[in-house]
Every structure is written in C-alpha cells, then in structure tokens.
Amino acid sequence: MPSRREMLSRSAQVATLLAAVGLFPQLAHAQAAPGFNAEAFAAKNMAEVMKALGGSAPVESKDISVTGPDIAENGAVVPIGASTTLPGVKRLLILVEKNPSVLAAMFNVTDAIDANISTRVKMGQSSNVFAMAMMNDGKVLFAQKEVKVTLGGCGG
C-alpha cells in the first residue's frame, strides 16, 4: 500500500500533467457564455461536431437546401442560407468544410419560426458548405454546396 507521502506527490504529478496538456476544461473555457458548446465549435470535422452535439451519423437529403454563391469574391462575407420544408426540426447548422473549425453557426429552431435561416460566414478557402438539420426524432440530414472563394477571409 502506498504511503500518504507517495500518494500526495503522485497526485501533484498528475495535476501538472493535466495542466500541461490543457485538460482543465473549466480554465480553458472560462470565458464561454453559459450553454455555449465550445467543444462543437472547436471540432475539425463533421464527425467531431456530431459527437459534441450527440447527433447520429449525418445522411444526405434532398429535403434540406443550402443556398449560397457559386463563386464568392470575398471570403470574409459569404452569404449562406440553410432551410428545409420538413417538420420537426430541432437545430439547423451551417458548416464550412475547410475552415479551421468546421461549425460556423448553430440555430435552435422552434415551431414559431420557419426552418429557413440566412446569415453570412467567413471562408478561408474554396470548400464545401453544409447545411445540416438535426430533427426531433434524432435523425441528422444534410445538404452540401461547393463555394469557390477568390479571396480568403480567415488569414491576415
């Protein structure tokens, strides 16, 4: 059985290790507003986003539509819309595949509004843009569109 002294020194080591790799989440996300899903917004691909949000594997669907330009002259301001005619939408997501973090925006939709939202996003380079709908029954549907960017909006 380890002595108390050994236990103390070991836990101190573990704490240092955790701090070194930034595994103290409450420190790293101290500035996040309550309810902000920092994990989803740090995700690098679609699978990680779904894992952070607890959704199932996304399926491509014709009932979701994503609107946007074919060619965006300025990557800092790309108008993107996400919409669907299906009932029972819980969330609409806008994702940009080649951005440093794929998830750009997440909208929690209620019955009081149409599942049809437009906004403007930044794109670092030409890439696919996804509109994704998370349904009340747990299904995740998406549509994609390629947008070519002639001037990136994420770099200096």
């Binding site: 507003a33 902000f36 997440m106 149409d114 437009s118 794109m123 994420c154 770099g155």
Partner: protein, 103 residues
C-alpha cells in the same frame, strides 16, 4: 456597450421576415497582428430572438460568422405592431439587446 443592432421586421403573408444587422468585430482568432502575435478570438456566442416576449429562436455562433453579422429568419404568425427583440452575448461577456416593431 456595443453599437445598436439594426432590426427590420416586415410582414410577408402570414409571417414576418426579420432581418438583423449586428455591429460586432467577430475577430476569428486566426489572424496575426503586425508583431506576429495571434489576435485572440472575439465573437458573438449566443443570440436570442423573441416575439412578443416569447423566445422563438436561439443560436450559437463560432468565430466563422462574418464581421457585423447579418441574420434573417421568418417568424410565423407575426402581425404588424408585434415586438421582435434580439439579444446577443459575446465571449467577453459583452451583451446587447434591441427591439423592433413589425411593420
């Protein structure tokens, strides 16, 4: 306090189209300043839209939303004279709430 939002809400058939233009820097956290240091991310995280005091939509945004963000959505059953309230909170805890009347 941040600059006011511009909100326009117009009736279109049995719903109202709401367009919001917010004034925010939306710094991405990817850019570097002249000295080569990364400029920390500064962006709106939470957006809430209310129709006559009832929350109809909430959103979470990452830094990939453009500077001075634009947002458009349709509120079902909104009539002229109804109140649309939009508020946001950014990752520095700054917040702003503005109200508009449906016309």
């Amino acid at each position: 306090m941040a600059d006011p939002m511009r909100i326009r809400a117009q009736v279109a058939g049995d719903k109202a189209t709401v367009r919001v233009l917010m004034a925010h820097e939306m710094e991405s956290g990817q850019r570097k300043d002249a000295a080569g240091k990364t400029i920390p991310a500064w962006h709106i995280q939470d957006v809430t839209a209310q129709h006559n005091g009832k929350t109809v939509m909430t959103a979470q945004w990452g830094p990939a939303v453009s500077k001075n963000p634009f947002l458009q959505f349709n509120v079902k059953g909104a009539k002229a004279g109804d109140k649309i309230t939009v508020s946001w909170v950014d990752n520095k805890g700054d917040k702003r709430t503005d109200e508009a009347t449906v016309s």
